[in-house]
Structures are given as structure tokens and as C-alpha cells.
């Protein structure tokens, strides 16, 4: 599985309140949530994002609330992958559980700028910055998480186990 797109670049501690403000949590519809994705940190994000694009951030991406609406909104906005130096733990679980690919890679976070054209190979963990012709190796997932990702989320994983 691969992702390829242009990069939206953010800093440290991007919290779930800016990813999807609570004033929109009276909805749980992915398409509706996507229309407000990143609104309080980057009001042009929704206008500029195209399918396949990649978010790159620094430390502690997704900190704050447990709202699964945050990775849901990002995924529904068309983002194919989030790369960060580190992720907040609940966001990390949620992304895996709903099938939004995420990769921890401090080197990639440092070596990628807004607008760069980036390719990610999830099988090898290789992140390739086409714009700068640089390559990084992301942290591989433990086998258990790979199974959840391969099943495209925890629900399918559990259903497969129950078969």
C-alpha cells in the first residue's frame, strides 16, 4: 500500500480541538466533519486539500480529546497519511482503529516542508520526498497492529477473528 501527495505542514501539539472543533461534534457524519477539518489552525485547509495529500507535523500530533472524529475528519478530507515526530496516544490508537495510516518519523518531519511532493510505502516504511530527493525510514508497526491495518481497522479485524 502506498500514499502519494502534496504536504500540509504543521508544528508541535496539533490538538484535536483544532483538527475538529467541538462545536461541530453534534455531528458524527464523516463527510460533514471533513468540511471543518483543521479549521481553527488552517482555515484554507479544506479548500486546498486534494485526495491523497499528506499531513506532516512535529511532536504530539492529535493531543487532547479522545474524539475519533479527529482522524475520521482527516481521512474523510482525503488525507492519505499523517507523518509526525510523535503522536498523542489516543489519536494513535484511533487512527489505526479506523484505518488512517500514520507513521512516526522524526527525521522525515524535519526533512519535509509544506508543499513538498511525498510518497510513502507502508509495507517498507520508506518515506520518499520527491521534491528534495531525500528518503527516510519510518518506524515499522508491531505485527499485531499490522494485522489491524491490513484488515482496514479494528472492526474488520474482530469480525475476521470471529469467523
Amino acid at each position: 500500500m502506498k500514499a502519494h501527495g502534496k504536504v500540509f505542514r504543521y508544528g508541535d501539539n496539533v490538538d484535536t480541538d483544532v483538527i475538529i472543533p467541538a462545536r461541530y461534534l453534534n455531528s458524527s457524519d464523516p463527510a460533514e466533519l471533513a468540511t471543518h477539518c483543521m479549521e481553527d489552525i488552517d482555515k484554507d485547509f479544506v479548500k486546498n486539500v486534494t485526495k491523497g495529500d499528506i499531513i506532516v507535523a512535529d511532536k504530539n500530533f492529535g493531543c487532547g480529546s479522545s474524539r475519533e472524529h479527529a482522524p475520521i475528519a482527516i481521512k474523510a478530507a482525503g488525507v492519505s497519511c499523517v507523518i509526525a515526530e510523535t503522536f498523542a496516544r489516543i489519536f494513535y490508537r484511533n487512527a489505526i482503529n479506523i484505518g488512517l495510516p500514520i507513521i512516526e518519523c522524526p527525521e522525515a518531519a524535519k526533512g519535509i516542508e509544506a508543499g513538498d511532493d511525498v510518497e510513502v510505502d507502508f509495507d517498507s516504511g520508506i518515506i520518499y520526498n520527491r521534491t528534495k530527493n531525500t528518503q527516510f525510514k519510518g518506524q515499522a508497526f508491531p505485527e499485531f497492529m499490522q494485522k489491524i491495518i491490513a484488515a482496514e481497522g479494528l472492526v474488520n479485524y474482530i469480525n475476521n477473528k470471529n469467523k
Binding site: N26, G64, N162
Partner: protein, 420 residues
């Protein structure tokens, strides 16, 4: 190599004699929690699973608390979804408006959380129950759905940071000041993926409400959980509130910690976190004049009886500064009633505050106290992110109930000593 308190609880619930940090385990759950925002997503996910029933109707708690009483039609639809699910599965611990409270104040009060439990909740502040010596942590809706269906959850066993609390805190120092001080010291990702294990003889000076506040905000340092040793006070609390059997775990003497900090409680000063991160802490004595527009006293962090008592002790016989809005929200119906019987509500109203029924409401910018552009609020809640309580250009300053009440009188961020 010994285990931490958290690791011992997890090992037992995974049926393993020993676990170590980084190990992936599947653990049995004693309770699965959801609220009106996260449960509808979980219910939708559970519908996709090839299971017909919940694993145990007594071990699920559904607490509509964020946007209730329903703030708008969409919220009403969410609550209806949760209510119908609760009826369909005969969920024992579903709490309707008149019997509810903010989940993390309500569940311990109802005796649903005790020492030794493993608890997941689709709300980040689920870590609150560590105050009673339980392992409890926040998860998302899909984990909640899986938990409701199977009674199990996967965890990566966390390593831990040990916080040794020593000395006796001064008069106006509460659990809030202690946890804000710690977050200011280690940062909002200082305990990322880790347990925050509290220890030391300073704990005996902390009320249960102080401990709930401290454990509640472990997530604001990125922690997986916060946990306290179980002492006589915790046992007394559980005996008073719960019929359930509790189990006391203690960290091994040779448990390994990633770091250890000593927090001298007697040296702490009232502490305030400035926008827009809980780590931006300042002690109140170093703050210049910061005029405010609103004060909120409440939430899963600081809406308990101790919190209301200290706020009322400052507001008694005083008036809210002209032009300021002060909103007091008791965290549960029981606390609301106790506050009424003790005359606290009368004190608040006579001072010029409004008192609301339990709701998370303003804490997350839902309703009941939204900020306009450029407005500032001193709040006893737990987050001060950009746009958290309203307009993207509004500001939230996190503080204790004592500082919030004092600020309500002066109209600027103030120490209780300024008004008492």
C-alpha cells in the same frame, strides 16, 4: 525486574504473571464507558461487528453529559441514539438527565470504579479513576465498540514516571495547582505513552477530590494513565460509595521508572496555565493585571464538592465584579444537591454567579458559556487550546477553584489572598 502498579494491574487482567514495558497484551475490562459524543460513533461501529450483544450489560456505562440537556437538534439525535441502544441492550448503568453527572465525577460516586479495575472510556479524561488505584485510560469510539462487544482491549504496556509528593500543601493549594505545576514542569507530552505513578507521604494531605483532579489531568501531560496508591482515605471512599470488591496493587520495590521527580507540595504556589497549552504555567504571584470576561467553575476536573466549597468560601459575602459572567456547574446531581443543602448555591447566586445543572458544556466550547472574539476566561477546566471555549481568538486560563473564585471578585486573575 519488578513491575509498576499499572503493570501489575495489567498483568493480572491479561492472565499473565509478568508483563514488561512495550509488551502488547489483551486485557479483560471491568468497565467500558461512553458519552453522548463518542457513544453514537461506537454504536455505529458495533453495528458493523458480527456480534449481537454487549459482553456484559452491567459493565458498560453510558453517560450523556457533554451536550445535555440537549443543546440542539443534532445533539438530541445523538442522545436518542445512546438512549435507544441502552434500552435495546438493557444497559444497567445508563444515566438519564435527572440522574446523571459529568461522567468522571459520576462513576466513582456511583461506585462503578474501584481499585484494581481496568477501565476504558471513550473520553480522554477517563484516567480520573486512577485516583482510586484503578488502571483507567481514554480510548476512541472504535475501541469502545470493541470493548462493549468483547470485554477486551489491547494495550501496549506502558513504562512509568514516578512523582514523589512530599510535604503539606499551603492553605489555597489544591490538586489543580499540583497537576498544573507538574504539567508545566514536564510539558504536554512529558508523559507521552507512559503511566504517571504518584507516591510519597504528601498524598495523605490530599483529599479524594484533589486526587481525582490530579489523575484527571494526566492526559494533559500525554500520560496513558495516572495512578495513586490505595490508602485508608481511598478505602473509606470506596466503602462509602461502592458494593464492589476492590483489589489493592502496589508497585514492586524494584520497579523501574523512566524518571522520578520529587514534588515538594509545601513549596507550591497557586498556579495558572496561560493560553494555549496546559504547560504554559505561571504562579499567580508573578502574573501582571490580566482582565477577564468570564469565570467557569466546574467540569470533570473541578466540579466536585470540595471545589464548590472552596469557591463559595471566597465568594461568601462578596460580589462578582461588575460586567463579569461567572458560571458555576456542579459536576453531578448529588453534588448539586449537597451544594444546595450546604447553602453553597445560595452563596453563588447572591454573589452574582449563575448555577447550571451538570454538563460538560462550556469546557469544550459546546454551550453554556461560549466566548466571543477577544474574550478571556479563567476556568477550572482542563484544556486551553485555541478555540477550546469558543471563538478562535478567545483565551482560556486554567486555574484552581480558589483562584477562579478570587478572580471572579476582582475581575482579573487573582490569588485568593488578594480578596480574603
Amino acid at each position: 525486574m519488578g513491575m509498576t502498579m499499572t503493570q501489575k494491574i495489567l498483568a493480572d487482567h491479561a492472565g499473565l504473571p509478568v508483563v514488561e514495558a512495550g509488551q502488547l497484551i489483551e486485557a479483560k475490562l471491568d468497565l467500558v464507558l461512553g458519552n453522548d459524543i463518542t457513544s453514537p460513533v461506537a454504536i455505529h461501529e458495533m453495528d458493523k461487528m458480527t456480534v449481537d450483544n454487549v459482553f456484559d450489560k452491567d459493565k458498560i456505562a453510558l453517560v450523556p453529559d457533554h451536550f445535555v440537556p440537549n443543546k440542539d437538534i443534532k445533539s438530541a439525535e445523538h442522545c436518542k441514539c445512546v438512549r435507544e441502544f441502552a434500552v435495546k441492550h438493557d444497559i444497567t448503568n445508563y444515566f438519564e438527565v435527572g440522574e446523571m453527572g459529568i461522567e468522571h465525577a459520576l462513576l466513582p460516586e456511583k461506585g462503578l470504579t474501584v481499585a484494581g479495575d481496568v477501565i476504558i472510556g471513550a473520553d480522554s479524561h477517563t484516567c480520573t479513576y486512577g485516583a482510586l488505584g484503578a488502571f483507567s485510560t481514554g480510548v476512541g469510539s472504535t475501541d469502545m465498540a470493541a470493548g462493549m462487544a468483547t470485554g477486551l482491549a489491547w494495550f501496549k504496556v506502558p513504562s512509568a514516571i514516578k512523582f514523589v509528593l512530599t510535604g503539606k500543601p499551603a492553605k489555597w493549594i489544591s490538586g489543580k495547582d499540583i497537576i498544573l505545576h507538574i504539567i508545566g514542569m514536564i510539558g504536554v507530552d512529558g508523559a507521552l505513552y507512559k503511566s504517571m505513578e504518584f507516591a510519597g507521604d504528601g498524598i495523605r494531605h490530599l483529599s479524594m477530590d484533589d486526587r481525582f483532579t490530579i489523575a484527571n489531568m494526566a492526559i494533559e501531560a500525554g500520560g496513558k494513565n495516572g495512578i495513586f496508591p490505595v490508602d485508608d482515605l481511598a478505602i473509606e471512599y470506596m466503602k462509602e460509595h461502592s458494593q464492589r470488591e476492590y483489589k489493592i496493587y502496589e508497585a514492586d520495590a524494584d520497579a523501574v521508572y523512566d524518571a522520578e521527580y520529587v514534588i515538594e507540595l509545601d513549596k507550591l504556589k497557586p498556579t495558572v496555565a496561560f493560553p494555549h497549552l496546559p504547560e504554559n504555567t505561571h504562579t499567580v504571584d508573578e502574573i501582571e493585571d490580566i482582565k477577564i470576561d468570564q469565570v467557569v467553575i466546574g467540569s470533570c476536573t473541578n466540579g466536585r464538592l470540595d471545589d464548590l466549597r472552596v469557591a463559595a468560601s471566597i465568594l461568601k459575602g462578596r460580589k462578582v465584579k461588575k460586567g463579569l459572567r461567572v458560571i458555576v456547574i456542579p459536576a453531578t446531581q448529588k453534588i448539586y444537591l449537597q451544594a444546595m443543602e450546604e447553602g453553597l448555591l445560595k452563596t453563588f447566586i447572591e454573589a452574582g454567579a449563575v448555577v447550571s445543572t451538570p454538563t460538560c458544556g462550556p469546557c469544550l466550547g459546546g454551550y453554556m458559556g461560549i466566548l466571543a472574539e477577544g474574550e478571556r476566561c479563567v476556568s477550572t477546566t482542563n484544556r486551553n487550546f485555541v478555540g477550546r471555549m469558543g471563538h478562535v481568538n478567545s483565551e482560556v486560563y486554567l486555574a484552581s477553584p480558589a483562584v477562579a473564585a478570587a478572580s471572579a471578585v476582582t475581575g482579573k486573575i487573582s490569588s485568593p489572598e488578594e480578596v480574603m
